[in-house]
Every structure is written in C-alpha cells, then in structure tokens.
C-alpha cells in the first residue's frame, strides 16, 4: 500500500498546523509583551493555566467556544499576577516569570490529580467550518480550510497584529512603551497602563494557545502537557523582531518539522527522533550564523518603569 495518499498528506499538514497554532499564539503573545518592554518568561505557565481552564470549561459546559474563552481567561489569570507584580510593583521579571511557570505547573497538576486522575475525561471531535471552494482543494483544502474556526482566528490574528502595530495609535504607544517609556509617559499615556494591558492580552493569547492545545490538540488535559511550547514561543518572538508574520513563519517551521518527524518514521526511515527533533533549531541557528542579525530588542526590555527615576 502506498503511503503518499492524499489522506496521509492531509493529516501531516493538518498535524503541522495543529502543532503550530499554540506556538503561533504563544509567540504572538510574547511579542506583544516584549514590544512594551516586558520580558515575559512566564508564558509557559500561562499556557498551562489556559490549557487546564480551557479544557475544564469546554468539558463542563460542553461548549468549545466557552472553552476557548476559559483558556484565554486562565492565561489572563496568571498574567494578572505578572502585571501586578512586574508592571505595577516593578519586581524582577525573570524571577516572577519563572515562579509563575513553576506555580502553574504545580497547581494545574494538583487540580488534575484531584479532579481528573480517576476519570481522564476527554472531549469529542471538534466540529470544523469549511470555507467554501477553498475547502475542496485536494490536501490543502481539508488540512487548512476545513478546520475549527479557532484556527482561522489564530491565523487572522497575525494580520490583526500586523495592522495594529503599523497602523494604530495603540501600536505606536506599544512600541514607545518598550523603547522609551519616559517619552510615552510625558505624552500623557500611562506606561503602566499600556504594559498591563499588553501583559493581560499576552495572557489571553497564550492561554488561548494552551486552550487550543488541550481542546483541539489533545482533547484532554494532562499535567505538564504544554511541554516547553511556551519557551519555544519566547524564542520565536525574539527571532521575529516585532513582526507578527515572522512569528507565523517560525511556528510553521516548527510545526512542519514535527510532522516531518512523523512522516519519516511512518515511511520507515530509520533516523532517531532526536536527530529530527534537532532540525528546526539547527535550521534557525544556521540562518543566524549566516545572516548574523543584530538583536534589535526594545531598549527598555526587562526594566521596570518608574516615573521620574534617574
């Protein structure tokens, strides 16, 4: 039986997208925080909280939509702590980010232990929304254009953020908050306000990514299920240097490599998974070595803003 069937290729492509969407959302979220000068190391924790709460709500209410709302809410909950401690009170962002990740890991694992460890509830299939005409394209159609609406929304967010960053007053304010907060402040815009909103939205985006992972990606919540996706999101955001489209590219690269791993194995090519796992990182390193791109991070990244401090 030949392996290169349309169905298999579709599954690979769909799998790449399913694996890439949480990375995309994590990367977009981190990018938003970083733009305003907040180095958000806690997104792994926000993602996990989103996965837990997203799953819980989707399962309890039997509504996928509410599940995603719950996922975004779960991420925002953790982000609210970060906004309070790091933005308002100026605590060290690295310390708090790591603390929040550890805390979310522990808390969600415990909640899982008490709630689900005997039953492991799973969600049913998620209904998809075919896009007329496009969904009929072979392979590409079903993998890309016959998916749950959340997939389109996530992809649309790339355009939304690209627009916001370039075209709106808010986008300008975001960049100013990260590059020269004092200038923003003296123009009458609250730096702490802009940053708090950005961190909360980061929580929502990243939580949505976690929710996606639990609701669409796995259909279940298990402890530690985000598996370092948040940290890859941080790398994607930094590589993207403020451009949402680059986050999409990075997420696509990682998703594609995961599917490639599966494809090669299923085809019986005997390459250790560890080697294939190295591919996306090796590729990015190779590009960095060849291009030697300067960092170009916001100059106030990681520093708390205090009005009038000198």
């Amino acid at each position: 039986m030949t392996l290169l069937t349309a169905a298999f290729l579709t599954a690979l492509l769909a799998g790449a997208i399913t694996a890439g969407i949480p990375l995309l959302l994590a990367g977009l979220g981190e990018q938003l925080s970083e733009k305003t000068g907040v180095l958000n190391i806690g997104i792994e924790g926000m993602m996990l909280a989103g996965a837990y709460l997203g799953f819980l709500v989707a399962w309890k209410t039997d509504s996928v939509f509410l599940g995603f709302v719950g996922g975004a809410g779960g991420g925002m909950l953790v982000a609210a702590i970060m906004a309070l401690l790091c933005v308002r009170f100026g605590l060290n962002q690295i310390v708090i980010g790591i603390a929040l990740t550890l805390g979310a890991e522990g808390a969600t694992a415990m909640l899982h232990y008490f709630q689900f460890a005997q039953t492991y509830p799973r969600l049913g299939a998620i209904s998809s929304l075919p896009i007329p005409l496009l969904a009929d394209i072979p392979v590409l159609g079903p993998a890309l254009f016959n998916r749950p609406p959340i997939v389109y929304i996530a992809l649309l967010l790339v355009a939304v953020f690209a627009y916001v960053y370039r075209k709106t007053y808010w986008g300008i304010a975001l960049q100013a908050a990260g590059d020269k907060p004092a200038a923003l402040d003296s123009s009458g815009v609250s730096v702490l306000g802009i940053r708090s909103v950005a961190v909360l939205l980061t929580g929502a985006l990243v939580g949505l990514g976690g929710g996606f992972m639990a609701i669409v990606g796995a259909g279940i919540f298990v402890p530690f299920m985000t598996n370092g996706n948040g940290f890859i999101g941080i790398v994607l955001a930094m590589l993207a240097r403020g451009r949402p489209l680059w986050v999409l590219g990075g997420a696509a690269l990682f998703g594609a490599c995961l599917s490639l791993t599966t494809a090669l194995q299923v085809a019986g090519v005997d390459i250790p998974t560890d080697v294939i796992q190295m591919l996306p990182f090796a590729a990015v390193m190779g590009v960095l070595v060849m291009l030697g791109r300067k960092a170009n991070l916001p100059s106030a990244l990681g520093a708390a803003y205090v009005r009038g401090a000198r």
């Binding site: 709106t168 007053y169 808010w170 300008i172 304010a173 020269k180 923003l184 123009s187 009458g188 009038g308």
Partner: protein, 527 residues
C-alpha cells in the same frame, strides 16, 4: 533698584498669571531640590529661569508638567489651585514641555512621535500630521523631515522636532528647558524670535538657558534659582531700564554671589591672553583620513597640530565631528589614511595602545560612554587603567592605591562628591566633566581631543573646563577642541578648522576676522 528675594513685581499689569507656584517645595532623598518657591507666570511673557547646574530648574519643570508632585505648597492654574497629577493633566491644561533630555522615541518616525498621545483605537492620518508638522516647522523657520526615524537625526534636529511637537499640541503655556543647548547660534536666534512671536499671541513661555545673552535678549522677566531657592528676579521694567550689560552683571551676581563675577571675567578675558603658537614639528598629524559611517562618512581630513597648539573644529552638530573624534581615539575603524602621533603611525592601534602612546579623548557623552554610572568615582577615575600597577597587582585590586589616587584627583580637580565611593552617576553634570578631565589629563598625555567640553555646564564649570584645556596646551600637549560654540573656539584656539558634511572645508588662523571667515565657510560662501 531693589531685588528682594520674593519680588512683588508691584507694577504688574492687569494680566492674571496663567500658572502660579505657591511656596512649592520638592524634596528628594537627602536633597531639597526646590525650597519654598513662589513664582507667577504671565501670559504674553517669556519668563527666563536661570541658575547653576543643579539649582532646581528642571525639578520645577517636572512639577509643572506632571512628572513630579510637590512635597509642599501648591500650584494654581488660572487662579484656581489644582494638582497637576499626571503628564496627561498637564497637557490637558495646555502646558506643553520640551524637556532638557530628549523625550522622543528613537525607533519611531517624527510623525509617530507626534502621535504618541492619540486615542488607542484610532488610526493616525500620517499624511495630515506630516503636513501639519511641516507647516508648524515653517512657521518657526526651521525644517523638519517628518518621515525620518528619530534616531537617525542629530540631537539638534531632535530638539527642533520636540519644539515643533509642543507647538502642535496647542499649548498655551510652553516650557523650554535648555532648548537652545543643542542649537546653532543661528537656530537659537530663530527660536528666540519665535518665542517673541508666541508671547505676542498671548502664550506664556518658560525659557531655561545657561546663556545669559539669550536670557537678556528674549526674556521679559527673569527668575534666578540657587540651591533650590529663588534668590532673585528681574521684572520687565527693571530689565528694560538696566539694559543688557547691567542686567547681565546683576544676574551673575544673583547666580553666583560675589565670586561669580570672577568666573565670568576669566571666561571672557582669557582668550586673547594666550599667545599664538607658531607651529613647530607636528605632534599629532592626520593625513587623508577617511572614516565609514552610514549617515555622515568622513573623508579627506588633513590636520597637523603642534605641541602646545590648540586647534578648534567648528561646525554644526552632526557633520562628522563625532565620527572623526571616535576614529582618532580608536573607537571606530579608520577606512583610509594615517594618524601619526610623535611621528609614529597609530591608526591601526587599539584604543588602549593609543592611550599608552599619550592620546587622550574627553568624550561629550559623559554618562553614556564616559562613565559607568553605577560604579564609584574612584573606579571611574581609573576606567582606562584597569589592571595597571600600582592600582592592581597581579590582577588583584589594591584598595589603598585606588583610594589614594581618587582622593588626589578629587582634590586636584575640585570634583565635588560626597565620597570617593559615591556612584559617579550621582554626581552633577559639571562634576562628571571634572572627573573625565582628571582621568584624561593626568599621566603622560601627549595629545588630547576634547569633544564639546562645556556642553550643559554652568558658567563656573565652563570656566574651570576651559582653564584645563589651556593648561593642557601650555604643558606642551597637542589639543583638538570640537565644539559647536563658536565663541568657545575663538576664545581657546590658535587655529580653527570648519567641518561640514564629513569634510574640513577650511582652516583659519584665529585672528581678528576669524569669526567672519568661519561663518563664510559654514554657510558655504567660501568653498
């Protein structure tokens, strides 16, 4: 004529003050920056604030613009007391500020910097803003390129853009904190005329400057601060009746007390006292120097400087002075050409080796690169000698030697610091400059490059710095002074080179009509 410390300005017109400070005190940990200050600001007047570095001028501004809150006292706007709780509040009251230190976002275009305060959900009409910006600029006789990324502009251009932005915000109360510091004399004059036009339209303007001639020329009213207190004021009538000469004298007396006059005198007198040095064998020789740069590449620099000679380099800011001085110091690669020091080529040597040969560079970026702000004064004094004996032995710090060196330098150069362990960043600008001078001028210096040596300093500190420069030359060193202030160069230099767009367009002897010749070179008349 009487000058009380709380002048009632009795004969004051019918106009009511727009903003009044009522016994405003501002304390910072360990310091009273403003001590019970009361001042009224009237519409239709340019109100000049004068005072030494650290006198508390900018602190006053920060309270008026909502960045700081008074510790005591209150502020009244249009006669009603009203806390200016945030910058937003200040802007909504029509108080527009051009701060002493740039408040533009470097990574944004000027258009977007104008847009900073817009409603978040809206999309700016960038074209319209650009147009309005150009018009506003034109109305004050300057030119801006609204689409330029801020960081690509010189500090002077940035300051102009900030003034334009403040005007575009429709302020009726405009604060300009040392707005002319970065401008060429010509542009400063334009700004002065603009202030006059604005107050003619009924605005109130606060103008802070260290240049007394500007104060006297454009001000309607002058308040003088010293050590946080208001120590005197000159009303419009007094200013008029005194005339520029006498007013300046009076101001100096107010600012510095009795010794102020001396400072000012030395400043003015010393220039002509220096005998012109006739070039001997050049000590520092620059041949066909080329330096790469994205914005202002430097080409064809030829200069020979003899021992004991001071060569000034004039030019509008951003014409390659920075690139040239960095290339000479070794902080920037030389693309082509030669630099000889004592007859030896040094253009390929690293910074440290050039220093060992006797080349010194007093940077104008005192906090950015000249010092490490968080580190103690004692270490900053040795920043370029780390690891050298006797301060380090086998790489181990010798606390005693370091402290001894610091105490000596602090004394010799009159660096005012609470302690040699005080972080350098906590010093005032003038004292940081003295620290740099101490570091660069001690030891076996042969040639010294001074970049904008008196920028931002008050009269006393200016005098001290200029004295050091002259002493260096008198001690047989070759000296280059890069400055945007023509007066300074004329006072100090033996010869003056004019730089424009990365080239030296002319060199003149500093004689009677140097000023005019330089002006011709700068404006491109004499090519």
């Amino acid at each position: 004529m009487t000058l009380s410390s709380q002048p009632a300005d009795d004969a004051e017109p019918l106009a009511k003050p727009i903003v009044s400070l009522k016994s405003v005190t501002k304390r910072f940990p360990g310091i009273v920056a403003n001590d019970s200050i009361s001042i009224d600001f009237f519409p239709g007047e340019v109100h000049v604030l004068l005072g030494e570095n650290g006198a508390g001028k900018s602190t006053l501004v920060s309270m008026l613009s909502g960045l700081q809150q008074p510790s005591e006292g209150s502020i009244a706007v249009d006669g009603t007391e009203m806390p200016i709780a945030s910058p937003q509040k200040a802007l909504s009251l029509g108080i527009g500020t051009v701060f002493q230190h740039s408040m533009l976002v470097p990574s944004l275009t000027l258009i977007d910097n104008v847009n900073l305060g817009g409603s978040w959900w809206k999309t700016p009409d960038r074209e319209a803003i650009a147009k309005r910006m150009e018009e506003t600029a034109l109305s004050i006789g300057v030119e801006v390129n609204p689409a330029a990324i801020t960081s690509s502009l010189s500090l002077g251009e940035q300051q102009q853009a900030e003034i334009v932005r403040a005007l575009m915000r429709g302020s009726r109360f405009l604060i300009l904190d040392e707005a002319t510091a970065m401008l060429t004399p010509k542009d400063a004059e334009k700004l002065g005329q603009l202030m006059r036009r604005l107050v003619a339209q009924g605005l109130a303007v606060i103008f802070i400057t260290h240049k007394l001639n500007e104060a006297v020329a454009y001000g309607d009213r002058i308040s003088v601060l010293r050590l946080g207190r208001k120590v005197g004021a000159l009303g419009p009538d007094e200013l008029k009746s005194l005339g520029p000469e006498a007013a300046t004298k009076e101001i100096i007396r107010l600012m510095f007390g009795s010794n102020g006059n001396q400072a000012a005198e030395t400043t003015r007198a010393a220039g002509s006292a220096r005998p012109l040095v006739t070039a001997t064998d050049p000590l520092l020789e620059i041949l066909a120097l080329e330096v790469d740069d994205d914005s202002v590449p430097v080409t064809g620099i030829e200069l020979k400087i003899g021992a004991g000679e001071i060569v000034g380099i004039a030019g509008i800011d951003g014409n390659g002075q920075k690139q040239l001085s960095e290339a000479l110091a070794g902080q920037r690669p030389v693309k082509n050409g030669r630099i000889y020091l004592d007859g030896q080529p040094i253009e390929d040597l690293p910074i440290g080796a050039r220093r060992h040969r006797g080349l010194r560079y007093v940077t104008d970026d005192r906090l950015g690169e000249g010092t490490v702000g968080a580190f103690p004064v004692s270490i900053n004094l040795l920043l370029k000698q780390i690891g050298e004996a006797p301060f380090w032995r086998s790489g181990i710090e010798q606390g005693g030697a370091i402290a001894e060196n610091a105490r000596k330098q602090v004394k010799d150069y009159d660096i005012r610091t609470p302690d040699i362990e005080t972080p350098a960043g906590k010093l005032s600008g003038g004292n940081i400059q003295k620290l740099l001078l101490a570091r660069e001028l001690t030891g076996s210096a042969r040639a010294v490059i001074f970049a904008k040596p008196t920028y931002g300093l008050d009269l006393n500190n200016i005098a001290a710095s200029r004295r050091r420069i002259r002493e260096a030359a008198d001690g047989g060193k070759a000296v280059i002074v890069l400055s945007t202030e023509l007066d300074e160069l004329i006072e100090l230099s033996d010869r003056i080179a004019v730089m424009s767009q990365g080239r030296i367009v002319g060199i003149v002897e500093n004689d009677g009509d140097a000023r005019q010749k330089i002006g011709e070179f700068m404006s491109g008349v004499a090519a």
